[in-house]
């Protein structure tokens, strides 16, 4: 058990490190060093940076020194909580990102819960009532979920809502709450707006998990231990829920570990279509404006969040599977 956790933790650290290298590469890739870009950016907007200030910045980030020293300086500052300054907004990156990172997390988490909550019962139903009308219906919905990329789905829903109902369905808040400080009413407003984007985000993962759950459960339903349970005189539903479902839950849970990265990824793209105040639109804007500190920080933050989410999934998996808990070596 300790072994499993250590392995997963190490893997998580490794992943974070790889993501940090990639994020650093994203910051470094544009031609010229970013102080040049910074100076040019400020000059374009009318204010100027003195040569001294520029030199100080270069020294701060070790520009001109070998690349691994630059990386080292950059990552040390990140670890101490200094994500640098956004060139476009001319404010600290942490300030620019602000609530948006929590909104990303909230949206992805809501989609995760929804994926579980839908895929589990539907998968069970489809396997137990194989080839029933409901099974076919869910299979069809599942194929739509797999075939329609989530940004297209968002576009189609946006258009339908506008055309048929005359509604504009974007955003996570009504206009009057968007900039307002947090209050109970604002939370209620959020709860009202959250379901639609969460469903759109959850659909493709749900479709995949339903297929996995159905296939696994169909496999498990044929196993001898199910006959044992029936021979004990358990009712059919109790038999199914206690034994084969429990066993089918396992591959289901291990797939969940890879679901969270998908949801974080997906949240970026549907946020742009639906105009959600997550880090997605910010990232795309920053990338297009070559605001590399902001972009690199967002990529890094999303990566770290993903790793934490995945680690939590692993802990859930361990809790679900006694074989992992009792591993001897």
């Amino acid at each position: 058990m300790i072994n499993f956790i250590t392995r997963r933790l190490l893997l998580g650290v490794l992943t974070v490190w790889m993501i940090s290298v990639l994020s650093f590469a994203i910051i470094q890739l544009p031609p010229g060093d970013f102080v040049d870009a910074y100076v040019a950016n400020l000059a374009a907007s009318g204010s100027s940076v003195s040569a001294d200030e520029a030199a100080a910045l270069r020294k701060l980030y070790g520009l001109g020194q070998p690349i691994y020293i630059q990386y080292g300086k950059w990552i040390t500052r990140i670890i101490t909580g200094d994500l640098g300054e956004s060139m476009e907004w001319r404010r600290p990156v942490t300030e620019v990102i602000g609530d948006r990172i929590w909104m990303t997390l909230l949206l992805s988490f809501a989609a995760l819960i929804l994926t579980w909550g839908l895929a589990l019962p539907i998968g069970i139903y489809s396997a137990v009532r194989q080839y029933s009308f409901g099974d076919y219906l869910f299979t069809l919905i599942g194929f739509i979920g797999i075939a329609v990329p989530n940004f297209l789905l968002a576009l189609i829903i946006l258009y339908t809502a506008f055309k048929v109902f005359g509604l504009s369905v974007g955003g996570l808040f009504s206009a009057e709450y968007a900039l307002a400080p947090w209050s109970w009413d604002k939370v209620k407003d959020l709860a009202w707006h959250l379901p639609l984007p969460a469903i759109i985000l959850a659909l493709s993962g749900t479709a995949q998990l339903i297929r996995i759950m159905r296939a696994n459960l169909l496999d498990e339903l044929r196993r001898p231990y199910v006959v044992t349970a029936r021979a004990k005189g358990l009712s059919e539903w109790r038999t199914i829920l206690k034994y084969p479902v429990r066993a089918a839950l396992n591959p289901f849970a291990s797939n969940m570990a890879y679901l969270f990265p998908l949801l974080i990824s997906g949240s970026v793209i549907i946020s742009i279509v639906l105009g959600l105040p997550t880090v997605g639109p910010l990232l795309v804007k920053a990338l297009i404006a070559q605001d590399m500190f902001l972009a690199g920080s967002i990529v890094l933050l999303l990566g770290v969040l993903t790793v934490i989410g995945t680690f939590i999934s692993d802990l859930v998996l361990m809790w679900v599977d006694p074989r992992l808990r009792h591993q001897m070596d």
Partner: protein, 336 residues
């Protein structure tokens, strides 16, 4: 044998609908099981032994279903026998466990790996006997002790994958006995075990039978196990019992050509070295192309009558047992 049987299977039919056609997995099986005695059901794989066991408990899986016959269970208080096939699913659940219990071939696959063995034993106890969790646990530990599991109080909290094959089968038997059944169906209980463990498990079954007066249906393909354990024998071939009778009669003077062939194919230590072991010619026919007439006739060395190829032989009484073979009578038009 004036005693009434606890369980009496009469002309049982179970079919499986497949796209290629209907498979008659059990095709008119009849036998009786008595208190304190063991009925050995023997036959090659695929002859319908296991399906018969599942049919008795009413847990044949789709697309299979019982299509005819009677399964009469003598109530514990000695009233008139009830037909299990006519019971409601609800009442049937109360039969599984407290009346008839099942022990399976693969003890590993027959347990869920996700619950402790205690949990899986206690489940039936709590459901049927209505005991509290604490009392059920105590009973589970007693049962484990009874079947010879060492340190039962510790083992009760272990998972099946932590036990050896022999121990798992003992736990399986403990679980089957948890609600004091009167009939125990053991479906190839020792096939997956090594020879020494096999002997221990068979000893355990015999001991439990003597103590509790259990009626046991022992399903196996191993004539050696039959010789050691059974009081009565039913020899099955392609869904039918071709010969039923007392074990000593059948071993001493087998009447059906198939029984004779089965007995000839047992290797013995007494045989002359380097002699070929006789085998039964051919193999079991495809379930979809069951031979017309006596199902055994294509492999039979004694199929002399035209009727062997046209009509299945009826059951006739010969020398204290029932045989389905024209050699022993029942030829169409012979007696009429």
């Amino acid at each position: 044998m004036a005693e009434t049987p606890i369980l009496s299977v009469r002309n049982l039919h179970t079919e499986f609908a497949a796209p290629e056609g209907t498979v008659h997995a059990v095709d008119g099986v009849s036998f009786d099981v008595f208190k304190g005695r063991t009925l050995g059901v023997v036959g090659e794989s695929g002859c319908g032994k296991s399906v018969t066991a599942r049919s008795i408990l009413g847990i044949v899986e789709r697309p299979g279903r019982v299509t005819g016959g009677e399964i009469l269970l003598q109530p514990a208080d000695g009233g008139t026998p009830v037909d299990l096939l006519k019971m409601s699913p609800w009442d049937m659940r109360a039969v599984r466990g407290p009346e008839i219990a099942l022990v399976f071939q693969e003890p590993m696959a027959s347990f869920s790996q996700y619950y402790t063995i205690g949990n899986q034993i206690m489940e039936g106890i709590r459901l049927h006997m209505g005991l509290s969790a604490k009392a059920a646990r105590a009973r589970a530990i007693d049962l484990l002790d009874m079947v010879g599991v060492p340190q039962p109080a510790r083992r009760v909290d272990e998972y099946p994958f932590q036990l050896s094959g022999g121990l798992r089968q003992r736990v399986m038997i403990a679980m089957a006995l948890s609600c004091d059944p009167r009939v125990l169906i053991a479906d190839e209980p020792t096939t997956a075990l090594d020879v020494t463990t096999q002997a221990q498990i068979l000893d355990l079954l015999r001991e439990l039978q003597q103590k509790r007066g259990l009626a046991i249906i022992l399903i196996t393909h191993d004539m050696g196990v039959i010789a050691e354990m059974a009081h009565d024998v039913a020899v099955m071939y392609l869904g039918r019992a071709v010969e039923t009778g007392a074990v000593k009669d059948i071993f001493a003077a087998p009447q059906h050509p198939y029984t004779r062939a089965l007995l000839r194919s047992i290797p013995t230590v007494m045989a002359k070295p380097r002699t070929r072991l006789p085998t039964i010619e051919g193999s079991i026919p495809q379930p979809f192309n069951r031979p017309v007439g006596c199902a055994y006739h294509p492999r039979c060395t004694e199929a002399v009558f035209a009727a062997c190829r046209t009509e299945p032989p009826p059951e006739v009484g010969v020398a204290g047992r029932n045989v389905r073979c024209y050699l022993h009578g029942g030829l169409p038009g012979a007696r009429a």
